[in-house]
């Protein structure tokens, strides 16, 4: 007996501790990774994620009025056919959740200050900042207003909007245990979606397009440069950049050298150190750091253009659009086809997942595309404080209004957070509010931002989807309040048009001091009541063009209107204009009847650099002047590469590498000495450098102010060239310029929303640069850590109005945001990177859908049906 008990004790004392140890190891999080057992073992984690869709599935759903069929094509794109429109939106919501739930969830969490709830206290500053800038508040207020309009019968669409949200929640509710991998990795579950969440996504897009600190940056530059010379500021940041071709051609063109003017600076508003302090500290908040980096790398841009039947080979308009955003996995856009029998609603195009309908695309009659307008819709105000609870506004001591938030934080108690508001907006300058130690003492800063207001973009989008002609489209455009866009338009009747659309403030600049630039260009003194927004530009007064004589319209974020538009002030910010120059060049020189869909594909993927064409011939000329017929061997080898180059940023060529690195050095050696000496870090523009190089060879900017000698333009160009050769020899380990392949140094990368490399795609070698029509800009500053391009075309769309079934599109990821799906990155790898597209099947009924392209189907039936 004793032996038996002894054996039992031996067995149990060996196996039980072993079980406890192993189970504990797999039950505890390690190095930030959730418990491995929860992730890896059957019944859990990776085994409970959605898989590929079955070839046919029947769903009996309560609340449906009729039947809905969702056909997925070879790329997983849903084609939704419904008897009733409300069911159509239900199914669209279902598909969005089925494919992009985590992406939707993370975006709403960011806007609504709910990241710390799942990621912990490190995200508290970001959550606080997002709440402080009021996006969630205005989504909630707008939701209330829309509901009120719906209840009093003035907003029919809201019922479809609610059915869309029902579709998302039906998916979430019916898939509680089968959720995307990211949820398992981060250890949380999706919660119910609401119409407010959708409106938050609109706010987030508006933030990406219009939230910025440019007024403050300009202010630092203005103070620094005017302390040296009162023409310097305008030479670099003058209101009209050179070589601009306006988007709307109806208001004349610009002369090439509009840049010299003087500004008298009133020293009384010298807050340089406070604002520099604020700009340095606000970057400690993750969201703001990312935003500033993206803006610096010029990720936000876009192209759209349209030709009419005179230029096109089909006799009908062809419209193109590629919106440039940060590349993420899954991609920003979701593509779908929607058709409802009862109302005839029939559209095809892209939308941000989490929003109903189609934002960019076409219906049976009209099509449209976006580029960001860059209207100036944010102004910064500074105030003197009057004790801890009041500030001076318009000469009067005024109490802040306060709003209190409660933020849930993972593994700890929720945090109470108070935002103080001035009459203009939230006080953002006191970093103590965001958990950082700095404040600006007796000064506070607050922005007034267009996004802090009621917005009706959802209604505008709904109107676009249903428009049958330009008048309908214009009527819908009046509701396009936030995120101003250059909306290019075409229809089956042969019309083409463009209107940079959005709400633009009119300021009262009667109180600004001498030397202030007005128009919200630099911060206003709120204590003195400067720069109040008194109205908005009437829709009818926004620049507009329809069926222009030039037979095409094109926008690439360049200046909106020419000098003859003198109605209102529109913008401080627009692109350097190289993409616009190239698009205009190609379309202007096209013969009548010569442009086909195939031509448009070539243009959208064009990597011929107008910037290189502007700089390199000048460099070649300077080299020849410097050395005559006998340049040193190294220079001669580089010259040979450049002289045989046709400015195509080909990844297999060496000349693009030389051009790009030389251009960087040329810019640095021209401006960095002044930036360091005078104390400003505002981004300088390449197009200004081009202007100075071509038109003002003797410009003082070329002299290096930190050396005793007086350097000329040619000196700086040659110093830059020698630095380039040394840099590239060192980087490539070769003195032979033909080995300096552009693709080795120019790569594109598609970052997962989780930021995890295994879920990301790339890097891939790529053609192009930041200024080509097909853009991809890299940062080459650090030889040991060369950057990758993380932004560019987020979709490509070509609409053929002679036959909308001949329209093409592609996104730089895949349709489904599930990393185990074949549609996670199929379009990126098989189409986008090769400059290819897929067809859109714009079929009126599901019976016309090509059966060979059907990959899967879902049949929704009403319960009891």
């Amino acid at each position: 007996m004793r032996n038996l008990a002894k054996r039992a004790v031996i067995k149990l004392s060996f196996f039980i501790p072993l079980a406890i140890i192993i189970m504990t190891v797999f039950s505890l999080p390690l190095m930030g990774i959730p418990p491995l057992g929860n992730l890896l073992f059957p019944g859990n984690g990776v085994w409970k994620v959605p898989g590929e869709l079955p070839s046919a599935e029947r769903l009996n759903v309560p609340g449906l009025r009729g039947e809905v069929t969702v056909i997925r094509d070879d790329w997983g794109i849903p084609y939704i056919y419904a008897d009733y429109e409300e069911d159509l939106f239900f199914a669209q919501g279902y598909c969005h959740a089925q494919d992009r739930l985590f992406q939707m969830d993370m975006t709403r969490r960011q806007v609504r200050g709910m990241l710390s709830e799942i990621l912990g206290e490190d995200l508290l500053p970001t959550d606080k900042f997002m709440l402080a800038i009021g996006m969630e508040d205005w989504a909630i207020k707008t939701d209330e207003l829309l509901r009120k309009m719906y209840s009093n019968g003035t907003l029919e669409f809201f019922s479809s909007f609610e059915r869309y949200v029902d579709g998302i929640n039906y998916y979430i509710g019916s898939h509680e245990d089968v959720i995307p991998l990211e949820y398992h990795l981060l250890g949380f579950k999706p919660t119910e979606w609401s119409t407010i969440d959708t409106l938050c996504l609109v706010q987030e897009m508006a933030r990406q397009m219009s939230w910025n600190y440019n007024d403050l940056d300009r202010y630092i530059a203005l103070l620094a440069l005017n302390s040296i010379n009162n023409t310097y500021y305008n030479e670099l940041y003058g209101l009209t950049l050179p070589y601009q071709i306006p988007i709307v051609p109806d208001y004349g063109g610009f002369p090439e050298s509009p840049m010299k003017a003087t500004i008298e600076l009133n020293p009384s508003f010298a807050l340089k150190s406070e604002i520099q302090n604020f700009l340095a500290n606000v970057q400690k908040i993750d969201s703001e750091k990312t935003l500033m980096e993206n803006q610096k790398d010029q990720k936000v841009g876009s192209n759209n253009w349209v030709v009419n039947g005179t230029l096109s080979s089909t006799g009908a308009p062809i419209l193109c659009n590629d919106m440039h955003l940060g590349w993420i996995m899954p991609g920003v856009w979701y593509e779908q086809h929607l058709k409802a029998e009862d109302t005839g609603y029939h559209v095809y195009g892209f939308i941000i997942p989490g929003m109903p309908g189609v934002a960019v695309g076409h219906n049976e009659k009209v099509g449209w595309g976006f580029t960001n307008t860059g209207y100036d819709v944010i102004d910064w105000y500074y105030y003197n404080t009057d004790g801890p609870n009041q500030y001076i506004y318009n000469g009067t001591s005024t109490p802040y209004t306060e709003k209190t938030y409660s933020i849930n934080v993972k593994n700890q108690e929720s945090v109470k957070f108070i935002v103080r508001h001035t009459v203009h907006g939230p006080v953002l300058s006191d970093m103590r509010d965001f958990g950082l130690p700095q404040s600006l003492g007796n000064i506070v800063l607050a922005p007034k931002w267009i996004t802090n207001g009621y917005f009706f973009n959802i209604l505008a989008g709904n109107g676009f989807d249903r428009a049958t002609n330009r008048a309908d489209f214009d009527e819908a455009s009046k509701y396009w309040t936030l995120l101003a866009q250059n909306i290019v338009y075409a229809d089956v009747d042969g019309n083409i048009a463009i209107r940079p659309t959005g709400k633009v403030p009119i300021r009262d600049d009667s109180r600004i001091p001498t030397g202030h630039l007005g128009n919200g260009t630099i911060p206003y003194n709120g204590s003195n009541g400067e720069g109040e927004w008194i109205d908005y530009i009437p829709f009818e007064d926004l620049p507009n063009s329809i069926n222009p004589e030039q037979n095409y319209l094109a926008s690439a974020n360049q200046i909106v209107a020419g000098p003859d538009y003198n109605g209102y002030f529109l913008q401080n910010e627009y692109a350097d204009g190289y993409r616009a120059r190239r698009i205009n060049e190609v379309l202007r020189n096209a013969a009548d009847g010569s442009i086909s869909v195939e031509t448009m594909k070539i243009i959208q993927n064009d990597v011929n650099s107008t910037a290189a064409r502007a700089f390199i011939p000048e460099l070649i000329e300077v080299i020849n002047d410097y050395y005559g017929l006998t340049p040193p061997t190294k220079i001669n080898n580089v010259l040979t590469e450049l002289e045989s180059w046709h400015f195509v940023m080909d990844k297999n060529a060496a000349a693009p590498t030389i051009y790009r690195k030389w251009r960087d050095f040329f810019e640095d050696f021209t401006f960095n000495d002044e930036k360091e000496t005078y104390g400003f870090n505002t981004i300088t523009r390449i197009v200004v450098l081009e202007y100075l190089m071509k038109e003002d060879e003797s410009s003082h900017w070329f002299n290096n102010v930190s050396t005793p000698q007086n350097e000329t333009r040619d000196d700086i160009m040659m110093i830059a060239l020698n630095a380039t050769i040394n840099w590239l020899e060192s980087f490539y380990g070769s003195e032979d310029p033909s080995t300096w392949r552009w693709g080795n140094i120019h790569k594109v990368y598609f970052t997962s929303l989780t930021q995890l490399d295994p879920l990301s795609k790339g890097p891939y070698e790529a053609d192009g640069e930041g200024y080509t029509i097909n853009p991809a800009g890299v940062n080459l500053d650090n030889m040991k850590n060369i950057g990758v391009a993380r932004g560019g075309a987020s979709e490509r769309l070509i609409l053929d109005f002679s036959n909308l079934n001949n329209s093409l599109s592609v996104i730089p990821s895949g349709q489904r945001g599930l990393s185990n799906s074949k549609h996670y990155s199929d379009q990126l790898e098989q189409l986008f990177l090769q400059g290819k597209y897929h067809f859109q099947y714009f079929t009126n009924t599901l019976y016309n859908f090509p059966t060979s392209s059907i990959e899967s189907q879902i049949f929704f039936f009403p319960i009891g049906g």
Binding site: F15, F41, D177, S819
Partner: protein
């Protein structure tokens, strides 16, 4: 010997089915239970741990195979491997899962057999409290 072999196969089937059933409950720690039952059902430690280990491996193996076919789970294992070890280590994660299935089965079998031994020791000490033993004595 034959009885032991029969018990082994019975316990193997029990472990396989029970493990499969337990994957429906998202508490992976329960995987120890089938092993324990295998240990109890088998007289010797050897058969207990063997049936536990093999049963859980087979059960998880089938589950994994189905998951890889229906959910492309191998891609995720590969991504997960890349997260921890670098690219191309999905097979290692897969191997780890199968190996751990065996380990959990074996440990469960060991514990179950330990309990069985303990129970036997108890019954030896208190023979009259066991109804079967009582019957056995009367018959004799």
């Amino acid at each position: 010997m034959e009885i032991e072999r029969r018990n082994f196969f019975i316990s193997l089937v029990v472990v396989l089915c029970l493990t499969m059933l337990l994957t429906l409950i998202p508490v992976w720690q329960l995987v120890i239970i089938p092993g324990i039952i295998a240990g109890i059902l088998n007289k010797s430690l050897k058969y207990g741990v063997l049936s536990g280990g093999i049963g859980v491996i087979l059960s998880w193996g089938i589950y994994v195979l189905v998951g890889m076919i229906t959910r492309n789970a191998y891609i995720m294992l590969d991504q997960f491997g890349a997260l921890i070890l670098g690219g191309g280590f999905g097979w290692l994660i897969l191997l780890l899962v199968i190996l751990l299935a065996g380990i959990f089965g074996v440990i469960g079998g060991g514990i179950g057999n330990g309990f069985k031994t303990l129970i036997n020791a108890y019954l030896e000490k208190h023979p009259y409290q066991d109804s079967k033993s009582k019957l056995h004595i009367k018959e004799n």
